[in-house]
Each structure stands twice: as C-alpha cells, then as structure tokens.
C-alpha cells in the first residue's frame, strides 16, 4: 500500500503520525531520498518505493537555540541537531531528554515521534519527529 502513496512531504508527515520514519528509495540507482520527492535527483528516475528507515543515527553537529521562533518559544533553550541515519541520509531535528552539557558530536541517538498534534485550523497539520538518547 505504501508503495503507491505519493512521494510528497504531506505523505512523509502522514507516516510520522503513524510513528514511522519513511524515505523514498530509487529503484534504479538505489539512492534514498529524504525528503522524499517524485524524481530521483541523482538519476532522474521516477521508479521509486517507500522504505521504512531504522530510527537509529549518530549526531553530526548540534546547537542550543536560545532565541527561538514563535512556535518554539516555550521550549527554549532547546537542543537542535543533525543526525546521520544508519542508511546514510541525514535529518535535522530537536534533541529531547539529553542534558545540554552531555551533548557530543558522534553520540548515538534515535528518532522518536510526537504525534500529539493539537487540533488547529492552521496549516500545516503535521506532527513532529525528534531525537533522543539511544537505548542499546
């Protein structure tokens, strides 16, 4: 079923609401597209499939945001990082539950999901993923 879903941002976040981290995989060259998109940027193929990514990665870099945008102000200061997933693709997100002084480049993190989206008429209706310490 998921193989037929459109390769859109909207669909990516629909999967997030099902607590699944999904990327598109190019069936021609094997590249994983994250964000998903309708055309493989490497070989231009449109022969794609949705694949579920393992939620595991390593922290490549991080910051602590003190001056936050409006919708994040209640969380500030918060940690933000870029992780590289085991599949080799990268993702930016908030890091939760790690003391800021314990953050280290290279530490193991996992992706989790906050699917508790308050009902609101405002666009977009997307849930969020976030990163947390990996439990071995």
């Amino acid at each position: 079923m998921s193989g037929e879903a459109p390769f859109t941002i909207e669909q990516f976040y629909r999967f997030v609401s099902e607590k699944k981290l999904m990327g598109a995989k190019c069936n021609e060259c094997g590249k994983i597209l994250l964000p998903p998109r309708p055309i493989c940027p490497k070989c231009l193929s449109r022969n794609l499939s949705w694949v579920q990514l393992k939620n595991r990665g390593k922290l490549l870099t991080y910051t602590i945001i003190h001056v936050a945008p409006e919708r994040f102000q209640s969380m500030a200061p918060y940690a933000l990082g870029i992780i590289e997933l085991e599949e080799g693709v990268r993702l930016l997100g908030v890091i939760q539950g790690v003391r800021h002084e314990d953050l280290r480049v290279g530490m193991s993190l996992e992706v989790d999901f906050d699917t508790n989206v308050p009902a609101s008429p405002a666009w977009p209706p997307w849930p969020r993923y976030f990163f947390k310490l990996r439990r071995e």
Partner: protein, 389 residues
C-alpha cells in the same frame, strides 16, 4: 572570455544603513540612486538607463509585492523596464549577475542594479520569522531551526573538526566593528572587544549576540555599462571581470559538508576562471559575514587559506585593514549592517570605493583587484564577482 572586462561599473550609491525610522524601502532606494546619479554627472538617468534589476528578499516586511516598478518610479527611471530578483540574502548579488547578463546580450547599454530591505520597523520575532523563510519550511523551520541556529550547527562542526575556537570567531567581530567605525554609512560605529563578544548573550550556542550581523534598513545601487562606453560617463570606471553562481540543496542537513559550502566553492571556481585570476591576486574582499563563522568558512572556500585554517587566518591579522588581504573593510554585514536585499550591491559599492581610491579612512593603498562574496540562506545560493580597476 578569460580576464576580459564583461561590464563596467561607472557609478554606485548607498543609503545610510541603520535604523531608518519613518522611511520606507522605496525612499531608501531613492537615496542610494541619488548618490549614484550625483557621482556621475555625465549620465542622464532618464535617457541613459535602459533597465533596472532590483534585489529584495521579502515582501513580508512592507506588505508589498511587485516592487520593481515602485523602485524604478522612485528613482525617476520610469518607463525603464524593471524586475525584482530574489535569492534570500544574495538577492542583490543576483541582481549584479543578471544585470551583467543583460549587458552581455547586447540588448542594453546601461543597466542599474540595486537592492533594498526595510526591516527595523518590525519586531525581532517578526523579522526572525521572515528571515527564517529562506530556510526549508517542512524540514528546518518546522523542526525548530533558526538562521543563527543553522550557522551555529556549522560552527559546532567546524570547531569539532578543525579546533576552531570561539575566540577566533570573536576576532571577526572585533575586526569588522573596527572597520565600521571608519565607515560613516555603517549601522554600528563602535569598537567591540573580544571579551564583550564572548560575554554577550547566547543566541544559538556557540554563537552569541556579537557573532550575529545586524537587522538594518538600507538600499544600494550601481550603474553598469558595456565596457566600451564606460569612459563616456566617468574617468574612473571599474570592470567586472569574473562572475560565479553556485546553487546547492536548501537544507543544510542535505549537503555533503557541514564545514564548507559547495555553492561558494563552485561560484569561486567559475569567477576565478572567468577572470583568469586566483585567490592570491585579490587585494581587497567583501565577504558574507552574516555570522562570524561564515567569514571564517568563506576564507577557506574562497581559497584565501587552506580548509580548516580560517581560524588561524583571522588570528594572523591577514584580513585586517593593514593585513595582506583586507576583508570587509566596510565593516561587513556585522557592523555596516545587513538589510538583506541590499547587501550584495552594498558589497560592490565598497569595492567600487576601494578600487577608485574613495574609501577614506579605510582605504587600502594601491588595490587593483576586488572580490565580493554574497550568500543566500544557509548557503544554497552563492554569488561571487571579481572586479579590476
């Protein structure tokens, strides 16, 4: 095409940068245009200027789209055709490039390029929100990224990989604030010390308030002509001899490197090759110091020093006014200010002053070759130009 003059710059103008209460973008642009006209009495703007290409980032600040006809009108250029180009903070760098292309087609002899942004009437929260629109909405803005945050991610990676320090970043602010004190049009005209930078409040660790450029109001313009007719208008033209444009993925996380910007490296390669020049030939440069780490990374990507040695480069004093390669003699985005859409042409304005010996107390003696480096967003766009006397 190697080393050949592609277009001449026969005049340039810049509004005072800073908090310009009571003025709108169009009035600031008129102020910049007027300076360019006054510098070039042989030019009749209405008769001679064939077109206007204007850079501006965001219609949100003044609730105004369809900006190009307004700027053309307020500069007295109607009915010259005009168009706005947008590439986030590289919008007017892009205006230079497309002005150059317009000249190179042979369709136009004289083109005005420029840029403006009116920002300070908005709250910091509003300005931050509008600026953040230059990053990716679904994967960066939606997940808590800010612009200082994205450059802070690069700073952490650079510190981790190369041992770059917060003190080295602070030196960029100290240098550019010093240069700003010598520029009467700069937003900030006040020295800062390393200690002040290091003890200023954290915006996005490791970047502090004094690592960040300013939210400013301002406008800039320059008049480009075919090289062959430049001397009709002025005895002291400068020439654009190289132009480069790099484009990369919008998301920082999507790019191969977190410590270097491919868009800068590609734009630099194109511009250097076109000019038949290399980094060693540059006498003076204006680089995009939206955050102090950005200037350090620019040194490396432009080939002013080796990868990873940008911190040592600022420490060596090489980029100070009296150094071997003065960088951001205007005060840069850090002290001169960063009305985003105006920045690319404001960099050209500084190089124009330097190469024509009009830079006053910050004049670099005997400079012949200048470079401008203008970034859009977190580095998805980079526009570079090289100029000769």
């Amino acid at each position: 095409m190697r080393g050949k003059p592609l277009a001449a710059v026969v005049s340039a103008g810049l509004s005072k940068f800073g908090r310009r209460d009571g003025f709108s973008g169009r009035e600031l642009f008129a102020e910049a245009a007027l300076e360019a006209f006054e510098r070039c009495p042989n030019l009749d703007p209405k008769r001679d200027i064939d077109a206007l290409i204007i850079g501006n980032m965001s219609e949100s600040f003044e609730h105004q789209c369809h900006l190009a006809p307004i700027m053309s009108d307020w500069a007295g250029l109607l009915p010259a055709p005009s168009i706005r180009v947008e590439a986030a903070c590289a919008s007017s760098g892009a205006a230079i490039r497309y002005g150059l292309f317009a000249i190179l087609t042979g369709l136009y002899d004289v083109v005005m390029v420029g840029g403006f942004e009116k920002m300070t009437h908005r709250t910091t929260a509003e300005a931050t929100e509008y600026l953040a629109m230059a990053s990716d909405f679904p994967f960066e803005q939606w997940n808590g990224a800010t612009f200082p945050g994205l450059f802070a991610l690069m700073a952490t990676a650079h510190m981790h990989r190369y041992g770059t320090t917060e003190e080295q970043m602070a030196l960029v602010a100290v240098k550019n604030h010093h240069n700003g004190t010598l520029n009467p049009k700069a937003h900030m005209q006040r020295e800062v010390t390393i200690e002040q930078v290091l003890s200023s409040r954290v915006i996005a660790k490791p970047l502090k308030l004094f690592d960040c450029s300013l939210i400013s109001d301002g406008a800039s313009c320059a008049i480009l002509t075919r090289p062959e007719i430049a001397r009709k208008y002025t005895d002291t033209p400068i020439y654009i001899v190289g132009s480069g444009h790099g484009t990369d993925a919008i998301g920082l996380y999507e790019r191969d490197s977190l410590t270097s910007l491919d868009a800068t490296k590609r734009a630099a390669k194109e511009a250097y090759e076109m000019a038949g020049l290399g980094p060693d030939d540059i006498d003076v440069a204006e680089v995009h110091d939206c955050f102090t780490i950005a200037e350090i990374i620019a040194y490396e990507d432009l080939g002013f020093c080796k990868p990873g040695e940008g911190g040592k480069f600022i420490e060596s004093g090489a980029s100070t006014l009296n150094g071997e390669l003065p960088v951001n003699t205007s005060g840069g985005l850090k002290a001169k200010g960063h009305p985003v859409g105006a920045t690319g042409v404001a960099q050209l304005y500084e190089i124009y002053l330097q190469l024509t010996g009009q830079a006053g107390g910050r004049q670099v003696d005997g400079c012949e070759v200048g470079l401008t480096h203008n970034l859009g967003g977190s580095g998805a766009t980079c526009i570079i130009h090289i100029y000769r006397r």
